[in-house]
Assembly symmetry: D2
Homo-oligomer: 328 residues x 4
Amino acid sequence: MSKRLRKIGVMTSGGDSPGMNAAIRAVVRACAYYHIDCVGYYRGFQGMINGESVELNARSVRNIINLGGTILQSARSKEFMTEEGRSRAAENLKKDEVDAMILIGGDGTFRGGLALSEEHGIQVMGVPGTIDNDIYGTNYTIGYDTALNTVVEAIDKIRDTASSHNRLFFVEVMGRDAGFIALTSGIGAGAEEILIPEENLGLERLLNSLEHSRRAGKTSSIVVVSEGDKIGKNVFELADYVRENLPYYDARVTVLGHIQRGGRPSCFDRVLASRLSVKAVELLLDGQKNLMVGLINNDIESCSLEKALKGKHTINKDLLRISEILST
Amino acid sequence: MSKRLRKIGVMTSGGDSPGMNAAIRAVVRACAYYHIDCVGYYRGFQGMINGESVELNARSVRNIINLGGTILQSARSKEFMTEEGRSRAAENLKKDEVDAMILIGGDGTFRGGLALSEEHGIQVMGVPGTIDNDIYGTNYTIGYDTALNTVVEAIDKIRDTASSHNRLFFVEVMGRDAGFIALTSGIGAGAEEILIPEENLGLERLLNSLEHSRRAGKTSSIVVVSEGDKIGKNVFELADYVRENLPYYDARVTVLGHIQRGGRPSCFDRVLASRLSVKAVELLLDGQKNLMVGLINNDIESCSLEKALKGKHTINKDLLRISEILST
Amino acid sequence: MSKRLRKIGVMTSGGDSPGMNAAIRAVVRACAYYHIDCVGYYRGFQGMINGESVELNARSVRNIINLGGTILQSARSKEFMTEEGRSRAAENLKKDEVDAMILIGGDGTFRGGLALSEEHGIQVMGVPGTIDNDIYGTNYTIGYDTALNTVVEAIDKIRDTASSHNRLFFVEVMGRDAGFIALTSGIGAGAEEILIPEENLGLERLLNSLEHSRRAGKTSSIVVVSEGDKIGKNVFELADYVRENLPYYDARVTVLGHIQRGGRPSCFDRVLASRLSVKAVELLLDGQKNLMVGLINNDIESCSLEKALKGKHTINKDLLRISEILST
Amino acid sequence: MSKRLRKIGVMTSGGDSPGMNAAIRAVVRACAYYHIDCVGYYRGFQGMINGESVELNARSVRNIINLGGTILQSARSKEFMTEEGRSRAAENLKKDEVDAMILIGGDGTFRGGLALSEEHGIQVMGVPGTIDNDIYGTNYTIGYDTALNTVVEAIDKIRDTASSHNRLFFVEVMGRDAGFIALTSGIGAGAEEILIPEENLGLERLLNSLEHSRRAGKTSSIVVVSEGDKIGKNVFELADYVRENLPYYDARVTVLGHIQRGGRPSCFDRVLASRLSVKAVELLLDGQKNLMVGLINNDIESCSLEKALKGKHTINKDLLRISEILST
């Protein structure tokens, strides 16, 4: 390592997720532990461009481990998509004497970080924070576990009223490109059917399955639908379709929406965020750069940001089989 | 009292609400305490028509006080709207030797009960159970307090992401004809604006208020909208309208939907349900009939079902003033 | 009103309770609305003595309505018990040009405020904030409703394991001098017995009741015990006594402790805190002083601090009867 | 496989844990899926001895996935420790024509199962269910994740009041022989110190650490103590010791107790329970026996019950290092 690290910057970017504050806290505390300065940028890359930063010390992050959202706020910056925007961001980092940046976010965040590194030689380290769990190089992203609990708790409530009224509920959950949330929360919530982008089972099969449930004596049912489901219909159209074809079902729709992004992080997400972020600081101290830290089989590992961006985190298709067995 | 009561029937009807199980439990336990038999009918009036009933004793209702929904299920029965339907219901009650019915539900339920009483001489007693709080003769209906907590908890989560992203969120809550949920949860959630059916403030005022908030330095905002808001637009149109007129706002919509009907009842709702239901049994024992029990100023009172149906429970307009002050 | 109010001080004192932050927020926002300055003192009277204060404006209190604890912290100040301490506090208030103080807390807080008023002519206004609900002049104190929900949620969890193992659990809840929490949460949690300071039922009766439960087929039971129970034994001795006399019971003890003071406030407590605190500001503006605001029958009323301190808020003994009926 | 399986028995035994109902449901639904009969025994081995069983079909387990506790109840059976007890249990299984037993529980449960297998040739399959996570052969036991969330949520509440009052709280959590709960929840709750049975840091170090925290400007602190901590003092003695040596600390104690065993299971525990239990049924169908299923690196694996009993699941000591860094 040619030059000793003196100051690390940290930011959160993209869709916020529960546990981002635990990650910020861990970055700041690890910096304090290793006697490195730490500076936070507001609203992700946009704050770097605007020079909106704040010195962070161990006391700045007290009592935030349990808060949803992110004290550094987040944003998607169009300006950073331009070379000029990135140049201004890099200038601000240099002016602030920041030696390396820890980027907490998802794919878009890492792509931005890589551009910053290639064009301006900034050392970056990625920490995967998104509720969608769609990042290669980690089994879990920060916020995913909390989002699952939020979804399951919401569906538990819907089930109360569904079973009181013998209704069929279509519940749309987040996940435009990936069915992680739908598949796992669907099993956790005891859903009868789970529709995800990765697997188009077809409308026919959905009808058959619901008819089968009905004949098996189920009087109420929950169908979890990923917002990116590829069945060719949105969740309202799906409900209409089922109402037309299975008129004995009183079908209703609930779109869970942004409650999935907020809330107190689960213990799992806090510990995950803490471990990943301490590792990110330690890797920088060790002279590493342009890596993403991840949880692989209960250990904290790292892979190159390029690999993280190229790879695809795929769902465990065995869970589809489990779901089918459990909805017997 | 001409004839001693021997058996009381109980049912839940209309939209289910958290605390209905606590109410059923209290009816059953009070019957056991006073050595009266108790029988439950499934799915409200429909179960009475179909003769779907279950004997209930003190042990039948163990460990249900904390459950959302209703173990007796609920329904809205079209058949009961007909004279023939009601006759069949009355016959079944006579066959089951039921001396009086306790009806847990809202306006529609009480109207049905009154018809049953007038046409067939059935003694009925109403217990107000609905999340909407729109019943005259009680300060609180069973389920309202829990629904408020559910809404506030959901908006807390939305606020996490709203303040992380500087966004404006329109959150639609239940209450087609009454703004109770919107008004009270809006204050509890710290909403900047609250739109309710009882008060059409006009679109102009909403824009002014949001602009004022913006100038006052608020970077994120929550607007709570009752589903029955009379501003002339649904929540999605409202968001579009604001986006057009105040383009600096990144406006989003969340419709909370049926999660508001479910969930573990709050302590308040359990105690309310317990007190109301014990009173309902005791009034029947005392020879009373065709009353609704209610919470008036911390005491359990009763009024005639006719009065409960004719009266109108109005919102406390002082809360609108409080809301305006607090969103300064 | 001889002199226009220019600046109001606010503090939280005594045991903290959920909703105190909502109260602080409402005081500050109401001051901003009426164009009055507002200053907060840390750690109650101790901060007044030490001159530890902070200017508060509408933005200072953003996003705190949902937080437990109090951003102004709380304390019990021994120094304030002395004349000298109070003189120093009064001096600091004068130096800060504070025209009136809003005191959020319980009996001890109000007593201190009254001394300040009598000895130094400070206008004070009391806002009842304590989980114990033992304040005369209000049906509910801020934090009580949240504490009830916390207790009931904890006992729900204990019931899961109690009924899985056929166990008898003694659960100690807060309330040294008053049984409000025990009595109301006991009904909400479906407790078989509730032991409170106001009513010594005797050990004999407890044994009889438990034996009766056993014979009635109950295999698990919850007994809620107020920490101030006067039955002559603490909760551990009680469990020992029952184990000795009813050896078929596998009796366990849980002391809920300080979890009862924390947590996100319920909607009820947030709205209560908001209404009371706005009223406190408005009464000061109206030239009133030395009052306590309270919720009486759903309206915000006020009474003199002397009366609040002399009066006794008594439990609703009808709830004991309800509890007996429900544990049939 | 010489003989086709016709009927599987299932029971829960030892300390109950959240997710056991999800496990029962998955066993029953998997049996239904594969057209095998399923019978449940109440109260673990004791129900087998007493012949207390219930036929379970797919509908018997509806709406239980979200419930804490176990619908089959649990117990620790002394009678089963005797040869005679086990003989009676085996006779009942034969009478019921049960071909194999699925045992949901911990070490004691598996030891009992192995004895049953060795002495009476019963095929058994173990599913690890305990909040303590102290089972070899699985990264996670059913209930551990939920218990962590319960603990963290409780400490969040304690932190509200701790930071409002500048207090030091000692919080005792479960884990007599293993520090899994203390270590992981301690990190999740942001504890300053974590005391576990596996690592005796000594009292001196605790005092040093607390003094260091104080000097670093921390005004409130949480110390998480495992009930099996080997520091030579129980949690109350610890608090006394600290009060004596660091008199500026206002030290308090909370023992979380049995709330850790109950509550709605987290999504993680529901999915884990579901996957493990389906696998247990499938292994039996495949002719396997005397195995325990476990989650190893996100996959469901199995190992012999002997190995599970002999091996020791050790904590990840790197977490102690993380904890030290984060409490900077």
